[in-house]
């Protein structure tokens, strides 16, 4: 029937048609016996975790991969970090889900397990041959200016996106959208997400997405009229990507202004030196941003106002003082910046000019990047690069060290710092998976080498390591949650109605299993 060609290391290289199926079975079993068992634990089930799982599975097909997730559902920022009006980007979820659907025995998801809180990290290390950290970067950077921590109505943009995406841990947050003037500090896509969602007030398209009904209602009732986007750098240095800029500048019924038109004065020579993407960014600004005009700003549209080369230096409080004596934000003091070339890095750097201006604003969202936190006591963290020191995904004992921590790997934002989207994460995970494969081939995970370590526990050891009444959520449980979300969504004419209370999630899982 078949003809099997096998090379010296007994790997299949091809088939044609004369050896019978018994022979194939024989070769298959030789192949199986020779492979040592390999238990891999991946912490985090966002794109980095799932891509790493898929890529390891492809290189080591018999690896037993356990993916642990803090939340009750997988997909990380694809579920909670992509804005609900970007459903095309959210389709990546289907690609990631295939990883769990197609290999139910080799790649297993366990949700609602918080490492260190529910299981000590060292227990995980002791029960698996190798561990991959793929749980991302969570801390948000603060401005570090007076008024920031004392005044009310100062928020993190990412929490807002998490809140309207139904992320459980952001549901207790309250956002005040009752005032006309709102500011967003930051020049990245998350800043534009917040602005765009507020500008899409009353949008039927937004209503039909997976945005939670609570947050959609809140946005609809918002009184925000002027949205100020403030950033320390100039139009050539922004981190917005062109897709997002184009989208926001083309929204209907929105006036797009620039506060200081001189910040768009850039010489032809400088533009010609720009890389392709930056050139296109600049063209978009030049084409769409008009100097602020009071009369036009009163035409009934909402106003989007870009402030380049401005750094907030102080937040000031005033009217609307709370009952508890706390003050609410009312004004922001901005310092004008100029760009100089940093001698050390040869990069452009914004420095204060000593000139100030004040804008009125009653709510402020910060979106100026991430700070890392050291999540696991035994794992080093480099706060400068906001990542875990590693080489090609293999964790180092400390930054600039040459020594590796055996069996410990890192993928995604934790590996290269908190930036980069799907294509980058895919390549980033591929590199880590290749390192794991290389170490596996070199027999580094042979249990006998590690005395005192019983790595055979793997997936099954997780339940025994947890408290007896701890509710774990497997992939089938998640699918029950999802189908309930789809059902509730259908009733309301939208894609999904996310369930935002943990006990409700538990009830859904329990009721459909009985």
């Amino acid at each position: 029937m078949f003809n099997v060609l096998i090379n010296k290391s007994s790997k299949f290289v091809g088939v044609d048609s004369s050896i019978n199926s018994k022979t194939i079975r024989l070769f298959c079993s030789i192949n199986q016996v020779k492979k040592a068992s390999f238990n891999l634990c991946i912490i985090g089930s966002g794109p980095a975790g799932l891509y790493t799982a898929a890529k390891v599975h492809r290189q080591i097909p018999h690896a037993n991969i356990t993916i642990l997730e803090k939340l009750p559902y997988p997909f990380g920022l694809v579920r909670s970090g992509i804005s609900p009006d970007h459903q095309n980007e959210k389709k990546v979820k289907n690609t990631l889900e295939k990883v769990l659907l197609e290999h139910p025995h080799q790649i297993q998801f366990i949700g609602n397990v918080d490492i260190e809180k529910d299981i000590k990290f060292e227990y995980i290390q002791n029960n698996f041959h190798a561990v991959v950290l793929a749980c991302g970067i969570e801390g948000d950077k603060k401005l570090g200016i007076p008024g920031e921590s004392t005044l009310k109505n100062v928020y993190f943009a990412r929490e807002f996106i998490g809140w309207l995406n139904g992320n459980l841990k952001d549901q207790h947050k309250q956002f005040d959208l009752s005032n006309e003037n709102l500011a967003i500090v930051g020049q990245g896509n998350v800043a534009l997400d917040v602005a765009r969602l507020l500008l899409k007030k009353n949008s039927d398209e937004l209503k039909k997405t997976d945005i939670t009904s609570t947050s959609f209602d809140k946005i609809n009732k918002s009184n925000v009229k002027n949205i100020h986007i403030i950033g320390r750098r100039g139009p050539l240095e922004v981190s917005f990507t062109n897709k997002e800029i184009r989208e926001i500048l083309n929204l209907p019924n929105v006036n797009t202004f620039i506060n200081d038109i001189s910040t768009l004065d850039v010489s032809e020579e400088e533009i010609s030196k720009l890389e392709r993407a930056k050139k296109r960014t600049f063209e978009l600004f030049k084409q769409h941003l008009k100097p602020f005009d009071k009369e036009i700003s009163e035409n009934g549209n909402m106003n989007l106002i870009f402030h380049f080369l401005r750094s907030p230096v102080e937040l000031m409080g005033g009217n609307g003082d709370g009952e508890d004596g706390s003050m609410t934000l009312s004004k922001i003091k901005l310092e004008k910046n100029k760009l100089i070339i940093d001698e050390k890095t040869q990069q452009k750097k914004a420095i204060g000019s000593g000139e100030f201006e004040i804008i009125e604003c009653s709510s402020l969202f910060r979106s100026i990047g991430y700070t890392g936190t050291k999540q696991f006591p035994t794992v080093p963290f480099d706060f400068n690069s906001v990542s875990i020191p590693n080489r090609y995904g293999k964790v180092l004992e400390e930054t600039k060290s040459d020594k590796f921590i055996d069996g410990l790997y890192v993928s995604g934002w934790l590996k290269g710092g908190p930036s980069g989207s799907i294509p980058n994460i895919s390549a980033n995970s591929e590199e880590t998976a290749s390192m794991i494969h290389q170490d596996y081939e070199a027999n580094q995970f042979n249990s006998n080498n590690n005395t005192g370590k019983n790595c055979d526990g793997g997936h099954n050891s997780i339940t025994s390591l947890l408290q007896p009444n701890h509710k774990i959520i497997n992939f089938n449980d998640y699918k029950k949650i999802e189908s309930e979300e789809v059902k509730r969504g259908k009733e309301k004419g939208k894609l999904l109605e996310k369930i935002i209370v943990f006990d409700e999630l538990k009830n859904i899982i329990n009721s459909s299993s009985s």
């Binding site: 299949f12 079975r25 062109n242 590199e431």
Partner: protein, 166 residues
């Protein structure tokens, strides 16, 4: 039972076919190899609505495919087990289906739309002849073209590559 083993074998072949470069013989699902090129053949009586072209895989091997006019390059890759990702299901939102085209082919195609260009800005190893596979529909004009996949063996740390901001 033998069905299962066939599947096992097939999976192995799928994994190894990219490394098969010498003249060889895989006879499975209308596929055969000659002179280092993997051929895919589809039984068709009418060749007017088909176009044949070649993928140059990440490892440099070639896969020759025959596909229906009207499909896009990404769909053609998926139909033929060519390792081109396409995470967002052809909705021009992720740039993981980035490919290089020959200049003569690049020039006869309509210009990329603003939306495609915006995604190309984020693609890995962007070149003058870069396009997104999902945005290029197959036409008879593309007969015989070569589509090159960006190399997978990029070492980010060594190249000093910095991903664009999120």
């Amino acid at each position: 039972m033998s069905q299962v083993f066939k599947q096992v074998c097939f999976n192995n072949i799928k994994r190894f076919n990219s490394t098969l470069c010498n003249s060889s013989f895989v006879n499975n699902k209308n596929k055969f190899i000659s002179d280092g090129i993997i051929y895919r053949q589809f039984s068709s009586s009418n060749n007017d609505d088909k176009v044949t072209f070649t993928f140059i895989n990440k490892d440099g091997s070639k896969t020759k495919v025959t596909e229906e006019v009207g499909k896009n390059i990404l769909e053609a890759a998926h139909d033929n087990d060519v390792d081109l990702e396409g995470a967002c299901e052809c909705s021009c939102a992720c740039s993981t289906c980035h490919v290089y085209l020959e200049p003569k082919i690049y020039n006869i195609l309509p210009e990329p739309t603003d939306e495609e260009n915006d995604m190309l800005d984020l693609a890995f190893q962007l070149k003058e002849n870069s396009r997104l596979g999902c945005q290029i529909k197959l036409t008879k004009e593309l007969e015989g073209m070569e589509v090159t996949l960006p190399s997978a063996s990029r070492n980010m740390t060594v190249d000093g590559y910095k991903p664009p901001k999120h």
